[in-house]
Subunit: 321 residues, 2 copies
């Protein structure tokens, strides 16, 4: 495999599959986007077969000759053998993604990786982390995901659970997290947390366009854009919790750059990111002697997963599995 | 460098330097132990010179021909160039350990590493982590240190601060930690925490031989050995905090084995370790589907740092610096 080989990059989320051909410099071709057939209530075996068929069709459309390495980012826990043990958005378990897609397409060079880790690798190779060797990524969306690169190596862990930074505990006995624990970074900084932070602030009776109604994260974001101070403070509060989580992780990982991405950033990053970055230095062990990590916005947006999956596929192509 | 080459391993703590020759199988020769000349109030330049001379003399005594790789574990932050940026127990900054010891001894193969990372590597290669690729180590002493091995690679971070697991925040606005932050793992699980946990339990007026006197960690440990229930519960409380920290770290790192060592373990491990291990599985993301890490006692004791430093020196010998 030479440095001039393109690769197929596929990002499979809970509702959509997106795929493209990625050049070695990170530029991408047209994006193929299809719905992922993973509806609730579907029989697990049928759902698994339908999803694997959808992936295989996308691979074949982009690479009819089965000549390119293929990288697949999948929202779930992935073993070294390319099996999706489980995923929060699919009803199936132990889906042999690499083997099944390889059989159907006749392509042997298939790499499967957790979607958060794929996006992390994309930002590391071609995005906001490209200048460093040690990077932490945190994606803020409905949930909080991310990944870790240490010494230029993706940290995948012993069983494929590595890099799940959203479930660092920030507050024991704190807010309930969808994962079942309390007080996770996800509970305090994901999209849904904006509503909780706003509700906390509204208890004091502060004037706000948010008062007296059921709220969604989009309501908080829209109100902030209109200058509502409670909305902006709610976002900043989520940002300060994010900063506390970043500092705790950097105290352990010593990352040079912290990349923050995800849909929440796109809407409220202008208030959230500075609030996070502000609290990090004061919480670092050895401050003020130690270098402070840069806390920056992701650069690749929703291309990061495809770009990272393709890059990993190129790197790992031909390696024993 | 072949697999039959021994190496010099040196462990430099706040009060003592210990050095030996380590064989490739991890067995060690006689241990040379000398006081480290790092008294308080010493002029930084003089202290630095005296310490570097002490290290160089130890190297020369163990390896008069300057023929072996030398690994030096140092309680401080170490750059890739082998400079000790700072250490909590020494009065000097930016001490060029590798260059100075190399010049004095005429040995080019000198590797300098943080002492917690050296001990972690020792347990990984020859101790409790030798069967896995992903290991977390936590050492409980006056402070809490440790290290991380991910995909068989020591995680040293961008600036040499990597693996400082003792300063993960467990409780925002919690107990003061010597590092300046509040609520760190160190504040809740280091030796000193036993006294605080005991004091908390004694507030309720429970009968205990610990009541009504100034306590040290050794008092708590001694009372536990006599069967004092408050002392044992204080130790178990520290263990449960440790378990919470382990779970939070494993949620991010997905370590297969968690090795717990340090002087506190030697004295109270029989109560502390099971309490820690008990709380981990319930706090893991994806439980009960995910494999639970083993939480085990360190095996190499105070040899871990020397063994790990020597092993790293053998691994890195001859590499460009």
């Amino acid at each position: 495999m030479t440095d001039t080989t393109p690769a197929v990059g596929i990002d499979i989320g809970g509702t959509r599959l997106r795929a493209t051909v990625v050049q070695p410099d990170g530029t991408i071709g047209d994006v193929l986007e299809v719905d992922t057939p993973v509806g609730l209530g579907t029989d697990p075996h049928t759902a698994s077969t339908a999803l694997l068929d959808t992936i295989a069709r996308a691979v074949t459309r982009l690479d009819p000759d089965a000549a390119l390495p293929v990288g697949i980012g999948f929202a779930g826990v992935i073993t070294a053998a390319g099996v999706a043990v489980y995923g929060p958005n699919v009803s199936t378990r132990n889906m042999p993604v690499r083997a099944a897609v390889g059989d159907t397409t006749g392509n042997d060079d298939i790499t499967v990786v957790n979607d958060g880790n794929a996006a992390t690798w994309g930002e590391f190779v071609h995005g906001a982390g490209r200048a460093v060797d040690d990077m932490l990524m945190i994606t803020l969306g409905t949930g909080v995901g991310g990944g870790i690169v240490a010494a230029s190596t993706l940290l995948e862990g012993a069983h494929g659970f590595g890099g799940e930074v959203g479930h660092l505990t920030l507050q024991p006995d704190g807010w309930q997290c969808p994962c079942g624990n309390r007080g996770c970074l996800e509970a305090y900084s994901a999209g849904r947390s904006l509503v909780r932070h706003a509700a906390d602030l509204l208890v004091g009776g502060r004037p706000s366009t948010l008062a007296g109604r059921e709220l969604t994260p989009a309501d908080v974001s829209a109100a902030a854009a209109e200058g509502d101070e409670v909305a902006i403070e709610a976002i900043r509060t989520a940002g300060r919790w994010l900063g506390a989580g970043i500092a705790s992780l950097v105290n352990v990982l010593d990352s040079a750059v912290v990349v923050v991405g995800g849909g929440v950033m796109a809407h409220v990053g202008q208030w959230l990111l500075p609030a996070a970055a502000d609290v990090v230095p004061g919480l670092l062990l050895g401050h003020p002697d130690r270098p402070t990590p840069s806390v920056v916005a992701a650069e690749l947006g929703d291309r990061a997963g495809m770009v990272g999956a393709a890059s990993l596929a190129r790197t790992r192509a031909g390696q024993p599995s």
